[in-house]
């Protein structure tokens, strides 16, 4: 009986020990990571905080260059047409002593448009507030060339006063970048830029003139061209201006209503030939600064970098292609 009792108690002890081992120190079921969702890949490329940080860093670096009137280090924060424009602006400032007011870029923004597209190059469009001296808003185009490079300020266009901008998806959801051959629009972005260049060159005589709404840049260029033309005619000189889109320098962001906001670089060459043995002189302060002490001849060729922002509506829309902003800066003045 005693041995039996012992066996029973031993068995009970063993059983309870087994239970202790199996039931004790349990942490629950091992969790498994969920499968990657589509929403993860459709997230915006930057958060608004990241955009602000990136933009602030770039604008601070530009401000340093502005203050020092040096172009050193500009290429680290700028690329594309804006690098050429700002280099010229600082060069002019070095001569004139003052940076043009139009170079101001406000640090506050009204809107940022961040795409969800994966792959590079990537763009971010940001619209600033008006400047302290009530200049119009700036459309900033930041561009990331590759994954291992950072965003750079690729283009700046001063928006025309009172222009109606298209609506974009909020940055928390993210927009989509457009393609330059998108055929669901009134015209492909590439065509729009080429045709607008023609309109700028030929004014109302352009066969595309009616496809584009009237805008401030066209008016200004027409007025300038007319004034110079009158002067030239007095001394039997000639003038001609050619506008050429720069291949590859185009950034597109799709708006919420299906249209595309296209920012592109159009280079122009303005050739002025004075008649009657006269010398052709620079036509503006910036041209003068850029020409410097160069020896003037009868012919002067000035190269301009133009950044135009066009809104190309969707094919279904009744609206015309509209220029919403632009920047124009002489980058080279030479006597030939």
């Amino acid at each position: 009986m005693n041995t039996r009792k012992k066996i029973v108690s031993l068995g009970a002890a063993a059983l309870s020990l087994c239970m202790c081992v199996t039931l004790g120190a349990c942490e629950g079921q091992l969790p498994q990571p969920a499968k990657a969702t589509a929403s993860a890949s459709a997230s915006p490329n930057l958060t608004t905080d990241q955009e602000k940080k990136m933009r602030t860093q770039i604008l601070e670096a530009i401000q340093k260059c502005n203050d020092a009137k040096t172009t050193d280090g500009l290429d680290k924060v700028m690329s594309g047409p804006e690098l050429a424009v700002r280099t010229s602006e600082i060069t002019v400032a070095q001569k004139t002593g003052n940076l043009d007011a139009k170079t101001t870029i406000p640090t506050d923004i009204t809107q940022t448009i961040i795409p969800t597209d994966s792959g590079w190059p990537r763009s971010v469009f940001t619209i600033t507030t008006t400047t302290e001296d009530q200049q119009s808003k700036r459309l900033l185009v930041f561009d990331q060339e590759s994954a291992r490079q950072n965003y750079k300020l690729w283009g700046v266009a001063r928006l025309f006063q009172g222009v109606q901008m298209p609506k974009f998806t909020v940055p928390e959801i993210g927009a989509q970048m457009g393609a330059d051959n998108d055929s669901n629009l009134k015209m492909t972005p590439k065509e729009a830029v080429a045709q607008y260049a023609d309109v700028l060159q030929n004014g109302t005589n352009s066969k595309y003139a009616n496809d584009f709404a009237d805008d401030y840049l066209r008016q200004e260029l027409a007025t300038l061209s007319q004034t110079v033309q009158q002067g030239m005619e007095r001394n039997k000189g000639t003038q001609s201006q050619t506008f050429t889109p720069v291949d590859g320098q185009i950034r597109i962001m799709r708006s919420a209503d299906g249209g595309d906001l296209v920012v592109a670089q159009i280079n122009s060459e303005w050739t002025r030939t004075a008649g009657e043995g006269r010398e052709s002189q620079p036509a503006s302060d910036s041209e003068k600064a850029l020409f410097g002490d160069g020896k003037a001849t009868s012919t002067m060729r000035v190269t301009y970098v133009n950044v135009v922002a066009l809104y190309v509506p969707s094919a279904k829309s009744n609206a015309k292609v509209t220029a919403v902003g632009a920047e124009r800066q002489a980058v080279k003045v030479e006597a030939i």
């Binding site: 942490e27 990657a36 969702t37 905080d49």
Partner: protein, 404 residues
Amino acid sequence: MKKDAPVKKEPTRHAKIMRGIVTPIFGLLAVACIVLGVLNQTIWKPNPSISASAPVENTQYLLIDQGVADLVDSTVTVTATSASATANDGVCMALTTSKDAAGWLAGQSYERITGLSSWTELSHSMQEAQGEAKTSDADVAFKDSDMWSQVSCDAGRASLNLKEATDTSVILVDFGQKISDGTIDLHWTRHNIPNFALPWYFGGGLCAILAVLCASVFAMDMSARRKRISARAEKARAERHERRKEEPKISEALAGSLAALKPRGKSKKRGAARHGRHSGSAGATGRVQAGESTPTIVDPHSRNMLAERTSAAGADTGAGLGTGDAVNANETETSAQNTQDTAATSVISPEELQSYFARFAQEVGVDDSAQTAADSADDSANNSTTSSDASSGTSSDTDGKEND
């Protein structure tokens, strides 16, 4: 009940087993469950702090998959260490999205952390990133990239403390050079710890209830229990019976309603009675005449409650009252001659009806004579209907005259 007394004095074998073996087993189980519950709540409580690690070998980059950082809890501390990682910025760790990480890693091989292989180990594998590694002068250092939402760099060790890790973010680690002595460690502090004590308490409670039941109800002799149950049921049945006596039976109510419907249909056919209801109410006189020779039919519409009451007060007819007040409620006449009528309409007492059904059950299907009997019963019923129709016809005629 008399038999139960000796059973109580000397427990049966069944009761012995229930009380001596089953009850203690359940009791022990209950105690064990509660003890285990307490243990699970105290010393075996799941650790809120979970640390899992994996070695990092022969690689410069490490990527923690999306959904891993928040696997256990959204509060996580990720630490990457490598004593030899002192080149460039040392160890750098960044929180980013999978597409940005893929862009940075393009063309590089990296160690991938895919999840937990146990509570202390991370599952990992070597992977080759798609794409081509492109370098340019404009490339930035890892820590300077715009793509990271959080970044931390230090010589030999980098750490990120995430308060709200999401399942969409990944963590990318750059050791600055190829290393083989690295470790990646994820430390979570769980806010929702699984409660393993509650099921034990529940089980314990259940066992305790079962133990009590085994010692009491289940230990009782089955036959005694059944008897007790049957006695109780019998009592209940008797009570119900008593109660039912006071109210009309369904069969009676049905018979009454049918009787009310039948004559109306037939009288219409014969064109004698115009209004069933009128004929019913006025037909008492006619019925008295016919009722002497043929069996009477109960017509609840032709009853006078007042008459019933007075007659009941005068002399308890017993069986007649047994059919219920509802049946009696429609009596119209109050004269003395109707005492006879009341007796005639209240022929079937409940006892009689029951005995009739008992007999009927015995007779049905036994022989043809039963069928014949039933047929003859039908015939007599028909006869009575005819007579009642006749009487109602007469009465409605009277009605018509009165109306005229």
